[in-house]
Symmetry: C2
Subunit: 425 residues, 2 copies
């Protein structure tokens, strides 16, 4: 690879076309565009088909060979000089939330496309083949589970399980895929897992960290593990007037203590831990009745399993303490577990190097949300590149990102992919 | 009155018939009886008419003259020897909550009836006339405002306002009264306010204090004043995963601090102050989204206005503190104010004396809830007698009370009324 590395060095001045990338983002965003400037392009709808068709046209025009697997993932291949080498893959998704934006997912796909176009324009042949992938139904808005396409690919759940899922109208994934013409024939993926030598995914951060730090490139070291819980606190509902304070068993008071405790648990494991109560149901929820029952969700996240386990222990102690103090009973049930997922050190370094070579400001960050890259990291070396989004807002029609940041992230992707794939001398 | 007082003393052994009182409670409870042992007899429904008809029959059989006013209050008069004297009045209501019990309101009416029956059986003529009243729509379940009949009588709002109120089906109080045949002709009440010399109301406590203290008679000294508030806390909704703790503006976290603070404010003004957050709405109320907006109710109660005002000041400071700590904005609006209502000292003493004369355990309590007596106290001397209810539970089909307690409260009512009305020698 020395020869190839030298060849990569010779391309040190190669840059993507930021204006072309932006134009492609805007063109794709027209499909399912909303009045408020966002995009509604739910997985496996006709709008999704239109988006897939546009991507497929672009990928073919870029010289790619396209294959679709049985869950509708689209693989666009740009051959290398030595196609026996594992592919260097990049991609993301083009389905959106119902009130989604132009960049979430779409940026990762079109940044990958821009890398291929740039290589074409410069006449660069890579040693290893490149693969640009569009994963099916990352968002999970219409069909659960989320990250469906990458989850099937990585073996997180079975193809049959995914195909059998239904939307609220009773339509199955299987039928929806067939209806839009993206049900690939082969149950066996067109690209074997061990055919992937590296997976990169560029994405808007969907959080406020980079913007707050005035930094362009997020070098994503890991995806946070998650434990989700249902908690029910049961006291006694009673009239707010006739019931003196010492005789109360107020479930909302106990719940409030728990909300504060969840926050404190996350702060105790700063900077990467998270603790959130996002959902709460108060019964009977009447102005002058002391709440007799409160149900609430707890979402704990951390970058490593030891921390996540310590937070679990602390949470259960906090529930007990809040219940005891409030004279209520408590039930805690863990309902979701995602293991923390470190990214591949060599690929993380490639991202770091790319930012350094381009003199871009960069910092290590963790991914708090799920991404297709998190499933891919289970079966192949993987890493992510984050760029800032305005006010950290995503999953919202006002989601926005700066063209120069998107271009910068795409250049880092180019460098990282070239470094992995090598360049034919 | 010395002569009359002596005559009252001569009736020291007079007792009500507890079994007859219980039987009347059970008979009335058949009208609107629910499968779970409660009563659903909403104001101005045909079931309410059946209850009113049964009461009216009983009152006539007890020798009373009945009049109905324009808001449907029923006045049953037992003449005294000197009918120029102001009447000694007792009563309550017979409408119930949708899932109400057998005792709330009904006890006060039928305890009054039992007093009259007892006097009849013993051939006792009082000096002053007695009045037994059934107030219209105390519960407010079908028509607001609550305590409608006593409110009109006491001038808390106008007759026209009350008659114009409509239920969810658009039926007005005016039409509902006419439909059940209880729309009195005269806009002027059949009994002028200054014709009421004393008003007593017996009631189940609807709270846990007497039961916890193993005490039979609650000598009610005052009704708590109330301030109700709407509070809105506005932060920023954001993804639970990608948003580090220090960058959050979590409205639910601020709300939780406020719930604890409301509790502390009430505890700081023990034993009679109350502070309750009974209602809370979390937006967007999604498991993995940091809440961006929380609306909640605050209900503060105290026995005197100085305390209530101090609690108001403390609440506003607590809202500011919670908002500042959480980095959210806050809006507070007072939506309801009821002034604290002390009861008439002489009548409270009459209740205290009655319990003492009967060797019943007794303690001073406050009424945390609203009652018809609270409006009556604005226009006439008034007092209340509480008896325990099981587990402090009311407004519930499992509401329960002990026959011996109900009998004891009725005997106290008898003594107190006799002491006020005097007995013809």
């Amino acid at each position: 690879m020395t020869l190839a590395a030298n060849a990569v060095d010779s391309l040190a001045d190669l840059r993507v076309d930021g204006a072309r990338l932006w134009q492609s983002l805007m063109d794709l965003a027209r499909i399912g565009a909303t009045d408020k400037g966002g995009v509604c392009r739910l997985a496996l709808t006709d709008l999704d088909r239109q988006g897939r068709d546009l991507f497929s046209d672009w990928a073919r025009q870029a010289g790619c060979e396209l294959r679709v697997d049985a869950i509708g993932n689209i693989f666009a291949r740009r051959p290398g000089r030595n196609n026996a080498l594992p592919a260097v893959m990049t991609g993301s998704h083009i389905d959106t939330q119902p009130t989604g934006g132009k960049f979430d997912g779409n940026y990762g796909v079109l940044a990958g496309l821009e890398v291929l176009r740039t290589l074409n324009d410069a006449g660069v042949q890579t040693e290893a083949p490149l693969e640009l992938v569009v994963w099916t139904n990352e968002e999970g808005s219409r069909f659960v589970p989320v990250m469906m396409g990458s989850g099937v690919y990585a073996g997180a759940f079975t193809l049959d399980h995914a195909l059998g899922q239904r939307d609220r109208d009773g339509v199955s994934v299987r039928d929806a895929l067939a209806a839009i013409g993206y049900a690939g024939a082969a149950a066996v993926p067109p690209l074997a897992r061990d055919g992937v030598g590296a997976y990169f995914e560029a994405h808007i951060e969907q959080g406020p960290v980079l913007e707050a730090a005035d930094t362009v490139i997020g070098v994503v070291t890991a995806a946070l593990g998650q434990r989700w819980y249902d908690v029910v606190l049961t006291g006694v509902e009673a009239h707010a007037g006739p019931t003196p304070m010492p005789l109360r068993r107020d479930a909302l008071l106990a719940a409030s203590d728990l909300v504060r405790a969840v926050n404190d648990i996350a702060l105790a494991h700063a900077p990467n831990a998270r603790g959130t109560v996002g959902w709460m149901d108060v019964f009977p929820n009447s102005r002058n009745v002391i709440p007799g029952r409160v149900s609430l969700s707890v979402d704990l996240r951390a970058a490593d399993d030891a921390t996540l386990s310590a937070m679990d222990v602390a949470l259960r102690a906090a529930v007990d303490a809040a219940a005891r103090r409030g004279g209520v009973s408590a039930h805690v049930e863990q309902v979701v577990y995602f293991a923390p997922q470190p990214f591949a050190q060599a690929l993380v370094q490639a991202v770091r190097d790319g930012a350094r070579d381009l003199s871009l400001s960069a910092m290590e960050v963790v991914s708090g949300a799920g991404h297709d890259a998190v499933y891919m990291a289970r079966v192949a070396p993987a890493a992510m590149i984050f760029v800032p989004c305005k006010d950290g807002i995503s999953h919202n029609e006002i989601e926005d990102a700066r063209p120069d940041h998107l271009e910068a992230g795409c250049n880092v992707l180019l460098r990282a992919m070239l470094a992995q794939a090598g360049v034919a001398a």
